[in-house]
Subunit: 341 residues, 2 copies
């Protein structure tokens, strides 16, 4: 087997230069790097530190599984995650999957194929069981959701999320406090064991605590989608059945924007004929007309905190934690105060 | 040095199981995989095929450098790229950089750190010189832009883009054909050697070919940003200087949405008091009020074709190519036909 000295001789550089190339350090000229690598590849040289290199390569990668592509809410979060991982010396390997795909399956496959040190799940179900997660053997964190309906051992996972039920409760309470009693809801699914269900439950509790009966005919569902086009379609279909509401709670900004187009097309102005409130606070919702009134998620903090918790576990600084971050109310122009109750 | 037989003995599994673990094959139980890996790590075992493994790991990674984070236009493109790479058996390693960061620098660093086989640049300047790109020694493709103002050898790079100058020409011509002669432009920069300059030139040519003098006071610039908040601010500042236009060409959908808020806040309705047209076709622009009239880029095709061209070069099926894809006009409700010319 060749020694590092042989490599230096064959490539015409010093031993220390070979060492720097093997350790992938920046302080080597491109030309030296090229020559050393050519010799290594020609001679099938296996450096002594290869095992360590393999571990290092492996150890650098953190998987990011993004469920529900085209979700504008995720853009800032992904950027915050990428930046935090980069600062800590890790590589983010991202996989985007469809809204109805299985994020655990995707994570397990990635873990095997990409030799991950940890996984960040951005979007997923809130009812995982220990069995389902058994296939993921590296540390993981749920970003923007948590195990609300599940049975995971809190010592075995981290999560960073808002309180979805509470945010929905707050949003609907704003509508009621503005004089609205006929409040519709646009949701993805009432029992998807996910944030849609949590926010739907917050809606139900707000009505209940304000003494307003829940009317099922005012709960509109996209049939398990958060996509703007599905929100638009579901709202259009609902409006051809009923118009008996003065306000709408949409579980997501993007869905609210889709719904507002349907309202306009059915001759209802926002907020004159129908108030609209949502949750998320995506950038564009501040620029549309009327500006959307919404509860903003702390997007950058969601991403940065997820990385912090995951690396604490990976690097042995701490155990798993579930963190809840607050939302911030943004008063737009999409909610109208009713004069008479 | 340990042999594969020693590993099998120490971990209590068969030689073929060890081999399967070393080759990262799926047909191994998690328990066996765990035991073999534990022995390998304990013993610092260096498998014979490590050199090959290193090459294999390296060969799988394609870098994606995304310049200009928070650009909603990129979401669908990134998804298309990720899907195409995944189908072809590659890993996408993404790095998002700020709008004013250096994408070539980011690509060169990634190439070294992540051992890339190729790089996809999503967003960047259009005036690269061969010297600037010399640091990137793997094949690369520019996605959504090309080397319009640069001096790269066409045999040395691939690109997939629309004709930005032509799309802007078409957009402004639509306004003129609708009777508008006082047409303002909202751009990022008139000479950034990037798509902003190309689209600005298309605006100038459309005015020229329709016999309309260019008026510099109707060209509003965000000072080199494509961000919605900067478009909003630039448009607001412009409107406090001049209102002498009946139509606005914004070089991007997102910028148009920002501008429309500024127009409203200055008491000008779209399209009654000012028509607006843009380029890009991001999802949300179809749902806002009024629906934005725009020239849609073929986002999925931009991503898929970029991967196809890059892998053709990497896998030796073909040389570099520069491909131009057509835009599709979407008639929204943001352009009004003037009655009298």
């Amino acid at each position: 087997m060749l020694t590092i000295k042989d490599i230096a001789r064959l490539s015409g550089v010093s031993v220390s230069t070979v060492s720097r190339v093997l350790n992938d350090r920046p302080d080597v000229s491109e030309e030296s790097r090229r020559r050393v690598r050519a010799v290594i590849e020609d001679q099938h040289y296996i450096p002594n530190n290869t095992a360590r290199d393999l571990v290092r390569i492996r150890s650098e990668a953190i998987g990011l599984v993004v469920r529900g592509v085209q979700n504008p809410f995720y853009t800032d979060i992904i950027h915050a995650i990428e930046r935090a991982l980069d600062t800590a010396g890790y590589t983010m390997v991202m996989r985007q999957i469809g809204f109805s795909d299985d994020e655990i399956e995707a994570g397990a496959v990635m873990q095997r194929e990409k030799r991950l040190r940890g996984i960040i799940f951005l979007g997923g179900r809130s009812d995982y069981t220990p069995d389902e997660l058994a296939r993921v053997t590296v540390p993981f964190v749920f970003c923007s959701y948590t195990n609300s309906y599940g049975t995971l051992d809190p010592k075995r996972y981290s999560s960073v999320s808002i309180c979805d039920e509470g945010a929905a409760f707050d949003a609907v309470s704003k509508l009621v406090e503005s004089g609205h009693t006929r409040v519709a809801a646009l949701i993805a699914d009432a029992d998807d064991s996910s944030i849609s269900q949590l926010r739907y439950q917050g809606y139900c509790r707000a009505l209940r605590e304000h003494g307003i009966p829940l009317r099922d005919e005012l709960v509109f569902s996209t049939d398990d989608s958060f996509a703007i086009e599905d929100a638009y379609r579901a709202m259009g279909a609902a409006l051809s059945r009923t118009g008996d509401f003065t306000a709408l709670f949409a579980i997501a900004d993007d869905m609210a924007i889709g719904a507002m187009r349907a309202l306009r097309e059915h001759g209802r102005s926002v907020p004159e004929d129908c108030s609209v409130i949502a949750i998320d606070g995506i950038a564009v919702s501040e620029y549309i007309h009327p500006m959307l009134t919404t509860l903003c998620q702390p997007k950058t903090e969601l991403g940065a905190k997820s990385v912090e918790l995951l690396l604490d576990v990976i690097e042995g600084r701490g155990g798993h934690e579930q963190v809840t971050l607050p939302t911030v109310f943004r008063a737009g122009a999409s909610v109208r105060r009713l004069n008479a109750l």
